[in-house]
Every structure is written in structure tokens, then in C-alpha cells.
Amino acid sequence: MQRLAYAIAALVLALGIGSARAADDVLIGALYPMTGPNAQVGADAKAAMETAADIINGNHDIPMLMGKGGGLDKLGGAHIRLIFADHQGDPQKARAEAERLITQEHVVALIGSYQSATAATISQVADRYQVPYMSADNSSPSLNQRGLKWFFRTSPHDIMFTQAMFDFFRDIGAKTGRKVQSVALFHEDTIFGTDSSNAQKQMAETAGIKVAADIRYRGNSPSLSAEVEQLKAANADVIMPSSYTSDAILMVRGLHDVGYAPKAIMAQSAGFVEQAFIDAVGPLAEGVMSRSAFALDASKARPAIPAVDALYKARNNKDLNDNTGREIIAVIVLADAINRAGSTDEEKIRQALVATDIPGDQTIMPWKGIKFDSTGQNIEATPVIQQIKGGVYHTIYPFDVAVEPAVWNVGK
């Protein structure tokens, strides 16, 4: 009995010390799909964000914002600590988890969340509790148009991304003389695919490009064979998919199955930049293009990339991609704002975020910089277009930062 009492006393003491130490840390709640069809994205995001935390807290010398390490100097060297929650890709679970992180874990900010549908509910909860939500990798344009005071997004959204695609179509058309006449839209039916395809439809119209097909499908279907038949029948110059990994695999394999070799595929990132997609479809992925917020091959202009990539690779045994690159920079920007606020008071952090003005070369992103407008959107996030060659994405546009010439089969 006495031994039990000692054990309990020791346990209580240990917990006490544990929580006392934790109080020094600045807590940030990160919401990702850790189970379900997109669990790998969540696992990669966790590795990326922990890499970012390591850069901030540890002892490094990386030529970027917060790259010196040593924690948050204006908060006495406090470390940031990420608490991960699993929203399973479900907007309702995301809402509940966001609430739990704020009310029970007492995080000072939220960050997330991959699927835009989950960001929609998380950011609402954040706004209600007056806690900043940093959107690292949600790309729906409607997210920052809801009048939320506590929403911030470092990454471009799908209108900015889509603009880059159509700029590329215009410029490559002018350069090669082979213009895009028609596109076929192919998108999943949640907020991501819907918003993305709406932007594409609008811009195609403005650019005088015909929308030969507009195919909305249900994600994680057992089969997309009927859908790819429609793509084949449309035979557009460019197929523009907005798809998560599983559907990206089925679409590209399906096109091959029906004996159709599309002239060009221009993807709205997501599943198409995942290594699992490239591994699964192998040679069929060659020539696939995608917009990207991140360019691994831009290390000349962004000298921090090799060091950050090495740190990430040590954790997760793969290179940074469009998603993980954006996740790292979002944590860095958030930590920088907390540091500049010099406080864990949420309103002060929000004000620091509003005042953010970071030049692009202080980041690992190919952007002009980071500066939020009144809706919380970073207006200096300038995307690039990349193309798969030899199983790896290379930057092909804008032409002045391209490392490989574009392989352009339209009009041939």
C-alpha cells in the first residue's frame, strides 16, 4: 500500500514537472488527415512541420527566417511545440478537433489542414474563439472571402494558381506558335475541386479557350472508367484535373487503359505531386504538368532549400514537395509572428501577422514575399509551373526561373 502511495506521488510529481516545463513552450495546434485515404499527406505534413519546429527551436544556421534556431528570442528562447490532431478529412471531425485544441490544449494558434473542406470549419471555430488559423496548404479561393478576421494564408489559392496556368498557356503558345484551343476539366466534387474548376472555367472563357468537357466526379470511387471515356471523347488540348492521390492514379491509368494519350495534363497539384502517384503510374507520369507553390530546384535563388530539404529527408526519407514545402513555411511565418508579438496573447499575434512583411529570399518559396491583405491572403505568393521529367518535377515556368525547357505537345 505504501509503495503504491509512493508510486502515485512520483507520478503526480512527474506530471507536475512535465506540465510546468510544457508551460514554457508555445503550443500550436496542427490539424491534418492522419487516417483515411489521405493519411499519407498527414504523415508527411507532420514530418514537415516537425522539421520546421526543429529549425526554429534547434541549433542551426540556415539562411532563412528563424533559421538561426534557439527558439523565440523575444519570448526568452521559448520553444514552439506542435500538437497534432487527426481530422480524417471530415469537416465535422475537423470542427470538433479544432475546438478541443483551443479549449483543452490551450493552443495559441491553429495550422492546417490539407483538404479545403476541413479548413472551412476549422477557420470558423478559430474565428469564434479568436485564435489565428494559419492555412498552410488549403487552396480554395473562397476560404479567405468569408470575412474572417483570424484567417491567414501564406500559400497562393486556386485562382492565383489557375492564373499562372493560363499565363503559361498564353506564353508557351506565343513562344511555340502552338496555342491551347480547348481544355477538359476533371475535378472531384468537394470544395477543392469545385472552386478550382470554377476558376478554370472563368479564365478559359476570358482567354477564349473552349471548355470541351467539365467532368465532376466523386472522390475515392472504385472506378473512373466512365469518366476517362468522357475525357477521351472530348480530346481536348489540355486535361486539367483537380484530384487527390487515389483519383489521380485511377485517372492516369484509366486514360492509358482506354488507349488514349492526352496531349497535355495540367494538374491543380494535390494528388499529382505525391510520390505515391508518380510511383504508381511510373512512365505514364512523364510530361504531366502541375502548378506548384514550391520549387525544390530553385536553390540558386533560395539558398536555404538544400539544408531544409536535408533536415526533412532525415525525418521522412523523401524530398520536399509542393505540400510539405508550404507546410514548413507556414509554421515559420507563424512562429515569426508570435516572436514579433513578443507574447502568446492571441490578439497580439494576430496584429503581428497582419504586419507581416517578409521578402521572398528569406523563405524557401519562389515567391516575391509574404504580405497579407485584409482578407488574410498572402498577395505576394507567386506560383510556378512544373513538369515531370525522369520521374521528378522540374520548374518550367515562369521562363526566367525555369530549369528545364517545357515539353509541349499541344498542336503537334
Binding site: 487516417t35 499519407q40 465532376r216 472508367s225 492509358h256 488507349g259
Partner: protein
């Protein structure tokens, strides 16, 4: 159309195993999709390690799943059956819990990334029949599915099949004529899991594998079974084919994102006019 037909055959085979177990024991196996997932992982892992073509793995994986089915019966279902109170709910929770456990275990063991058998005799090959393209892996899957159905029907005609039938009709009375109920149930689970094992091997030749892949097929399997009639093999076959066609047609005529709506509309219609399913006798 052809795509819908071949997909329908796969749906039918996945559903056959479910139907078998349901018809025999009145148990909805909520872990059915997870058994499919395990079969796909088994195919993937053996292919990765030994380099053997998935087609050669049909029999080993089917046997493996058969053994697993028998084990699930003896270790879990037999115990769930002996519960005195609210037996139906207990059985549902047992299989539901098993599903979550298997999915979690797969994510823990294999990671959550999408894997796929990238090289096999069939993969990436496609036949051109005067403009109608038929992907070889799907065609092979359809043919194998038909063979599996023939085999299952054959089994149902044997003495063992009659014992299955008798046990289904009156599980207590069969004991009087010397049929070991436990053995029959275990065989039923084995056969059901074996059928889904065959479906898993064939699916792995053209579909990706991930811990949650079972869910994509399980829902359709439940509808197929209910549509075809609980416990009816022919019903599962016809319903699977029907669902494949309805999906393809809905995608073509209305909108791809409403594929499942077409499927459920048909199911609800059948439920209204013939609640026991198209070929149901129960």
C-alpha cells in the same frame, strides 16, 4: 459499357463472399472490405518480395484468406454466437471492431501511402477491339470472377453445399443428423473470405492498395448483396453486373459525381417492390 460490365463482375465477386456469410449465419460482416484490403496487401507484399506475378498468387492468397476466415470464425464469431443477450448487436460490434483493428494494423504495418503492383504480366496492357478498348487486367479479373462464381456454385451442389443449406435453414436441427454446425460455419467464413481473396488479387493488378481501400468497395458490396437477395450467389452476380451498368450509365447520362445515386435509387426501388432482393428466398 464494357468497363461497367467488368467492374460489375468484380463487385459481384466481392459481394459473393459477403452474401455467403450473411446467408449462412445472418451476420453482416462489416470487416468484409478490410478482408479485401488484406488480400490486396498480401498480393502486393508477396509480389514485392518474391517477384511472382499476381496471377500465380491467386491460389495461395485465396487459401491464406480462407484460413483467416476460419480463424476469425473460431476466435471471434463462435464466441459472439454463444452470447445469450442481444446476439445480433454483439456480432455487429465484433465485425465492426475487427474492421477498425485491421485497418489500423495495416496503416501501422504498411504505412498509409498508396502502393501498387507496378509490373505484372497484365498491367498496362489493353486490347483494341475496333475502337473499343478493353484493359487486360480488368478483363482477366472479370474472367477469373466468373470462374470463381462457377466454383462457388459447384461447391453449393456438393454434399457440403447441402449441409451449408441445411445449416442455414435450421442451425439447431442439423445437429440431430450429425452435422457439426461449428465446422460448417467455419467453412462458410473460409469460403467467403477466400472469394474476397480472389477478388483482392485481381484488383491488385490494376487498383492501388491503401489501408482504407476496402471502404471504396465495401459499401457497394453491401448494396449488391441486399439488391441480389441475402444469401443468393446468383443474386450477387446479377446485382453486381446491374450495379456496374447503372454506375456507367449514370455517369454517362447524368453526371459522374452522381454515380452512387443511381445505384442507390435502383436499390431503393427494388426494396420497395421486392424487399427480399431480386433473387432472395429469405
Amino acid at each position: 459499357m464494357v468497363g461497367g460490365l467488368l467492374m460489375g463482375l468484380i463487385y459481384a465477386l466481392v459481394a459473393a463472399g459477403l452474401s455467403l456469410i450473411f446467408g449462412l449465419m445472418d451476420v453482416v460482416n462489416f470487416a468484409h472490405g478490410e478482408l479485401l484490403m488484406l488480400a490486396m496487401y498480401a498480393t502486393y507484399v508477396i509480389w514485392l518480395v518474391t517477384g511472382l506475378d499476381p496471377l500465380l498468387l491467386l491460389v495461395p492468397v485465396a487459401l491464406l484468406l480462407f484460413a483467416l476466415g476460419v480463424a476469425i470464425y473460431h476466435l471471434l464469431m463462435a464466441r459472439a454466437l454463444s452470447v445469450r443477450f442481444n446476439r445480433g448487436m454483439v456480432q455487429i460490434f465484433v465485425t465492426f471492431g475487427l474492421a477498425i483493428l485491421l485497418r489500423g494494423a495495416a496503416q501501422f504495418t504498411f504505412g498509409s501511402d498508396f502502393k501498387s503492383v507496378s509490373k505484372s504480366w497484365l498491367s498496362g496492357k489493353t486490347i483494341d477491339l475496333a475502337g473499343v478498348y478493353i484493359p487486360l487486367p480488368q478483363l482477366a479479373a472479370g474472367v477469373v470472377s466468373l470462374f470463381a462464381f462457377a466454383l462457388l456454385l459447384l461447391i453449393s451442389r456438393t454434399e457440403f453445399g447441402h449441409a451449408l443449406e441445411a445449416t442455414r435453414e435450421d442451425r439447431d436441427a442439423v445437429a440431430l443428423i450429425g452435422i457439426d454446425r461449428n465446422r460448417i460455419f467455419a467453412m462458410g467464413w473460409g469460403l467467403g473470405a477466400g472469394a474476397v481473396g480472389i477478388a483482392g488479387v485481381m484488383l491488385a493488378t490494376f487498383y492501388y492498395v491503401s489501408p482504407s481501400v476496402g471502404a471504396n468497395f465495401a459499401l457497394i458490396a453491401y448494396v449488391t448483396v441486399a439488391l441480389g437477395g441475402f444469401g443468393s450467389l446468383i443474386g450477387a452476380l446479377v446485382a453486381g453486373l446491374l450495379i456496374g451498368q447503372v454506375e456507367a450509365l449514370t455517369a454517362l447520362l447524368i453526371e459522374p459525381s452522381l454515380k452512387q445515386v443511381g445505384m442507390f435509387a435502383i436499390y431503393l426501388l427494388v426494396l420497395m417492390f421486392r424487399p427480399r432482393g431480386l433473387f432472395g428466398t429469405l
